[in-house]
Amino acid sequence: MSDVKERVEAPTPPPELPKLGLLGWLRWTWRQLTSMKTALVLLFLLALGAVPGSLIPQTGIDPVKVSDFFEAHPKLGPFYDKLGLFDVYKSPWFSAIYLLLFISLIGCVVPRLQVYLKALRARPPKPPRNLNRLPGYQSFEPAADGDVLDLAARELRRRRFRVELYDGAVAAERGYLREAGNLLFHFSLILALVGAAWGALFGYRGTVLVVVGNGFSNSVAQYDDFSPGRVFTPDDLPPFALTVKSFTVKFQTDGPQRGAAREFNAPITYQETPDSPEKSYDLRVNHPLKVDGTNVHLLGHGYAPRVTVRDGKGEVAFSGPVPFLPQDGNFSSFGVIKAPDARPEQLGFEGFFLPTAVIDERGPISVFPDAVNPVLAMTAYYGRPAVETGKPQSVYQLDKTKLTQFGDGKGDKLRFQLGPSQSYTLPDGRGSITFDSYDRWVKLQVSHTPGLNLALVGISLAILGLMGSLFIHPRRTWVRVRTQDGRTVVEVAGLDRGPERGLGDEIQAIADALKPAEQPEKPKQEQP
């Protein structure tokens, strides 16, 4: 059996002699690229090439970790950067691998499609001369009456073979859909990739941090972070607006998973367009809002302490909630409060919001993510009023170049802690800060990924094709009548054209159906 397969699949054309010329070389390169061995090598390269991106921090996933890596490895960092190892999946070499793989795939399946379309119309071929070399070979004397070939044709049709009658023989074949499945799988993969590429080109994704009670309207300027596809234009943004009404979060309060989140819910109201009616929605994890082909996801949450800063003249220099960014699982959150309009000197604060604060020898820390004992632990700065430069500044960082840190009068830096509605008066009559209360904020992601349905259809069709190509079993069966030493002999044999699945008992069963009833059964022949 394996011999037959070897012969069927062995590369037939002998290698051409050197004088190739340009066209010849091109043809040679193309043939190499589309060969199965190249496809195999490219598959391995794709697998290997994907690995570093999971072990080395990636700019697209966690840019903070990437800059940490640069700091920790000042020599290795720039070297990795040159190799594109911080952005593996967009690097030229990774793109080269998958593009070559897809070219190889197309070059392989397009000719196979032509071959297949031809094979679909072809008749099952004549039996080979030596049927007895094929697996499951059987020979027996037919019954005296009746046409055994006619019987064979009927039996094979009943078994859903495509049947062709020859002079003195019946040829039958089935399992044509296997190659169809194979081709469907590969073409559908291309379709899925086209869908994914479409989404990457025309889609966009942005995140925005919204303090509970506030709103968001969909325009590029409102986003904290926005990554458009190459062909995206801001006009593509649907003009919806939403308001975060409240946010509830529940945490496990006991057991070993204490502190693990159990429920997030952000009830919102939204309008699809400025003129449309207001609707309500419960935004939760695994429960995104869909507006006009755009998805709004709840990605994260945190605290925004509400503070009032008074300056040296007793005027309110700043008042309102300030989002702090969580630094650990217990939501110790870092943030800065800026009061650039404070007079005579501007004021700035930096420090932590601790939802459940405990003071130990290392200082105040948070021991639980929910706000059980909220404390604001800060230090303060002052300086000359800054000149308005119009340069954008991060709201999460204090530019300390022209600021002086307050001292505590004992030679140390000033540190103070505030509970809700407590105030702290800064030294030398420079002002005060009040921790009024706290709000929560939610991080929303707005994204639009066109082509996603196309990719989904593609990959689903690919699975369908894959199952066809793996489970459909193509095979041929021949029944021939010939005269041997003056006697009529019926021969039955099959050819397994699948991946060595074996023909099982099928040939035996077909032969049994053709044998005259009174003839004693031969012992079953073992399959090799």
Partner: protein
């Protein structure tokens, strides 16, 4: 019964199942050890020659078995007994294991695959199910040692190193996609494991067959294995079953859920990367089987590599790399 009672039952039954699988493994190890002593030469060689010739052209008449004595017969009887005891104990271990997984689900009041401990006990159950489902149909007793070794090791590690008390899930896991996505991963993981084990034994057997053709001998343990060609076919069947399921779990269910939960269908999270690598390696396996010069040994090696990649994806990625797939209690 209350969830606490179920949790207690589960915590009692899973270690018991581990011990029983371990005893089954010892029984199978004994089977192999005793089998090694029975050296069969001429007989094995004849079998190999018959199996590798095509259509009977080269058929060598089977040589009469030499040196078949009463002692050897008794010995081979003991080998059979060890094999049967191993299988029986595997069934017993499986029943307890199944009970442990089900009571774990009842204790947590959800599907029992929400953290690494639960995934370990469920995925190893999938290995046992795939094995026991096919052991009689395809005569897979020879796989007993490998299967019991893997299942006992995974259960043991889960109990000792990964144990997490039953409890509710983080919000990201509150989705029916948890049922679909993780179940597909666990079942195909079970099949990858069986495929990997069969492929390892395939390499051993194929080497022994080549040695016999070169005039060497083969121990009875190896002779009891099916022919290398048959094992190659078994590995293919199991992996052909697993590959579409893995494709569905990783490239359809995973991205759909990721789009719901995280707002992007594919984000090169370490777990996603390694799932894709696993997929690519098994795709290479299927292509290798259809490529002249890659069939057989090389294809089997790829299947084993695929299994290791899957295991790394499950163990290494959770413990060494941080990503979105890390949840409470690992």
């Amino acid at each position: 019964m209350s969830p606490e009672t179920y949790a207690e039952i589960s915590n009692l039954v899973i270690p018991t199942a581990t011990v029983i699988y371990a005893i089954a493994m010892m029984s199978h190890a004994l089977e192999w050890a005793m089998g090694r002593a029975v050296v069969v030469t001429a007989e094995a060689k004849a079998d190999v020659l018959v199996a590798s010739s095509s259509g009977g052209d080269l058929a060598v008449p089977a040589a009469p078995a030499t040196g078949t004595t009463a002692a050897a017969a008794a010995r081979s009887g003991r080998v059979e007994a060890a094999s049967r005891i191993g299988l029986l104990l595997t069934w017993l271990g499986f029943v307890l294991h199944l009970g442990g997984v089900v009571t774990r689900g009842l204790a947590a009041e959800r599907v029992p695959w929400g953290n690494m401990y639960e995934f370990s006990i469920t995925a190893s159950l999938a290995v046992a199910i795939v094995y026991l489902l096919f052991v009689h149909r395809y005569k897979l007793q020879w796989l007993g040692l490998g299967v019991t070794l893997v299942v006992a090791a995974v259960l043991g590690l889960a109990t000792l190193a990964l144990y997490t008390p039953a409890g509710p899930l983080v919000p990201a896991l509150h989705s029916y996609w948890l049922v679909i996505h993780v179940a597909a991963a666990a079942i195909s993981g079970g099949a990858f494991t069986i495929g990997g084990l069969v492929s390892i034994l395939y390499l051993v057997k194929a080497r022994a067959e080549r040695r016999v053709l070169a005039g060497g001998t083969m121990s009875a343990s190896l002779k009891r294995l099916p022919s290398a060609e048959a094992m190659d076919g078994t590995a293919y069947k199991v992996l052909a079953f697993a590959f579409p399921l893995w494709t569905f779990g990783v490239l359809v269910a995973g991205p759909i859920w990721a789009e719901y939960a995280w707002g992007r269908y594919w984000g090169w999270d370490p777990k996603e990367v390694w799932s894709l690598v696993t997929w690519v390696v098994y795709a290479a396996y299927l292509h290798a089987r259809a490529t002249a010069g890659w069939r057989g040994r090389r294809a089997a090696t790829i299947a084993i590599v695929g299994w290791f990649v899957f295991i790394f994806n499950f163990v290494g990625v959770n413990l060494l790399v941080s990503g979105l797939h890390s949840y409470a209690g690992v």
